[in-house]
């Protein structure tokens, strides 16, 4: 039985009077690629940010392996070092080269020596296919390249799982492919991932498990085959039909 890396129990989050996450619970197992889909603005990104506490959940508990990370006096920086996060807007450190971006985590957070940190950074940059751009600054890289560096940055911390918050939504269409390719390889290499995305192709072919969220709640959960073919809820079916409509028109 595969080990549970992440467990989320009854998460609630409100902004002011509006409740954005209304009691979400799920588990992620080791090496699993979990994809969260659903209409925009339904709390998917917020959910991700509540997991590594970039936003604080109002209610509910989260466990990373067997440590409850929502406990009040926990060292959140240690926890965040074990959870990778890839932002929609990349958020690379603008004053650092690609190499520095990737190795600053190991050097300053894990307090590794420069040699060791550089070795790790080079390896991760090679893994995402950017070994020839290590001395470039973010402003000199395309969107797709920046996002790949940010994935390398997350990987360099050797995290237990990586959270992807709509990683391709801010990219020009022709640049999406290179990022998805990296993510597909990671999934193949059994990296534990939670991905919030609108890329249905990725979801259907790479996900081990799909969560459909709407209006702050999980409506469906299951492997791609089951969800796409036999959605339980009318809402899910409606969502898919709209997507396939778009896909169909694109195909034309």
């Amino acid at each position: 039985m595969a080990q549970t890396i992440l467990k989320v129990e009854n998460l609630h989050k409100s902004y002011g009077k509006t409740e954005v996450i209304k009691g979400v619970s799920f588990e992620v197992k080791k090496s699993e690629t979990k994809v969260i889909i659903g209409p925009s603005g339904t709390g998917k990104s917020t959910l991700l940010r509540c997991i590594n506490q970039l936003d604080y959940p109002d209610k509910g508990r989260v466990w990373l392996e067997d440590v409850e990370i929502t406990k009040p006096h926990i060292d959140i920086n240690q926890i965040r070092a074990s959870i990778g996060f890839v932002f929609q807007s990349f958020n690379l450190f603008t004053h650092l080269t690609a190499l520095d971006n990737v190795r600053i985590g190991p050097m300053r957070v894990r307090e590794m020596k420069e040699e060791e940190a550089t070795k790790i950074a080079l390896e991760e940059l090679r893994r995402v296919g950017l070994e020839d751009k290590i001395h470039h600054y973010p402003a000199q890289l395309s969107g797709g390249q920046q996002q790949r560096v940010s994935i390398a940055r997350a990987l360099a911390m050797n995290p237990k799982l990586i959270l992807f918050d709509e990683p391709t939504s801010a990219l020009d269409p022709e640049l999406i492919g290179e990022v998805l390719e990296v993510m597909i390889n990671l999934a193949k290499e059994e990296v534990t991932m939670i991905v919030v995305t609108h890329e249905m192709g990725f979801a259907s072919s790479v996900a081990d498990d799909i969560i459909f969220m709407d209006d702050g709640m999980i409506l469906e959960e299951g492997p791609p085959g089951k969800i796409f073919k036999n959605p339980k809820h009318k809402r899910t079916a409606k969502f898919f039909s709209k997507i396939t409509q778009l896909e169909g028109e694109k195909a034309k």
């Binding site: 990349f90 958020n91 603008t94 600054y137 973010p138 402003a139």
Partner: protein, 214 residues
């Protein structure tokens, strides 16, 4: 010569201002409401609303009323240094605020504490962005060193006075030369700072120029 003293004074004031100004700015942007409103803002407002000359006298005479004997130089250093800190904190504050909020989030997301994030990610960028505004502050501080004349310190202006008095010289010539010297020092300093700005520029990243008169 008096001009060397003036430069020394300026550097001393700016230095103290820098050392105090950065914590003030960080406190204003990242501190909790208590720190911000009870400590930082009153200090900044106090030193910005009062004329430099009054501040100089305040520190100089204040010391003696507390039975501390402060040399004019130290009194001036404290008065003008803290004043520069107040102004510099606003420059840094503007620069820090102009940095995209995603930078801090990314830093926290790899496990950096707030302190580490400020030190390794925010400040390096903020300092680069501050250079134009700081160059303005340099010019102001250098010109304001002339005011320590009032405390009897022998800087450029007082030297000029001595020269006029001793040689019964052409007062206007002497003072115009003083003005010229100031102008040159300011000009070179600004050019130097411009050069530094170019040198430490982040390739490809346009630094927005923020020019505020202090």
């Amino acid at each position: 010569m008096g001009s060397l003293i003036s430069i020394e004074l300026a550097l001393a004031f700016l230095g103290l201002g820098f050392v105090v100004g950065i914590p003030l700015a960080v406190g204003e942007v990242y501190g909790n409401k208590l720190v911000k409103n009870l400590v930082v803002l009153p200090i900044v407002e106090f030193f910005r609303s009062i004329p430099a000359l009054v501040l100089l006298f305040l520190f100089y005479f204040g010391a003696s009323s507390l039975n501390l004997s402060l040399s004019p130089f130290i009194a001036a250093l404290l008065a003008m240094g803290f004043r520069s800190a107040a102004y510099q904190s606003q420059i840094f504050r503007g620069a820090i605020k102009s940095i995209d909020v995603g930078q801090m989030q990314a830093a926290r997301s790899i496990g950096m504490s707030k302190f580490k994030a400020i030190r390794y990610i925010i400040l390096p960028q903020a300092l680069r962005i501050s250079i134009p505004g700081w160059s303005n502050e340099y010019a102001c501080v250098l010109k304001d060193t002339s005011l320590v004349y009032a405390l009897g310190i022998t800087e450029l202006m007082r030297q000029g006075r001595y020269i006029v008095a001793r040689t019964f010289g052409n007062a206007i010539l002497v003072y115009v030369i003083c003005a010229l010297i100031y102008f040159i020092i300011v000009h070179f300093g600004v050019k130097l700072l411009d050069f530094l700005e170019e040198k430490y520029k982040i390739p490809g990243y346009e630094i927005k120029k923020v020019t505020t008169r202090v």
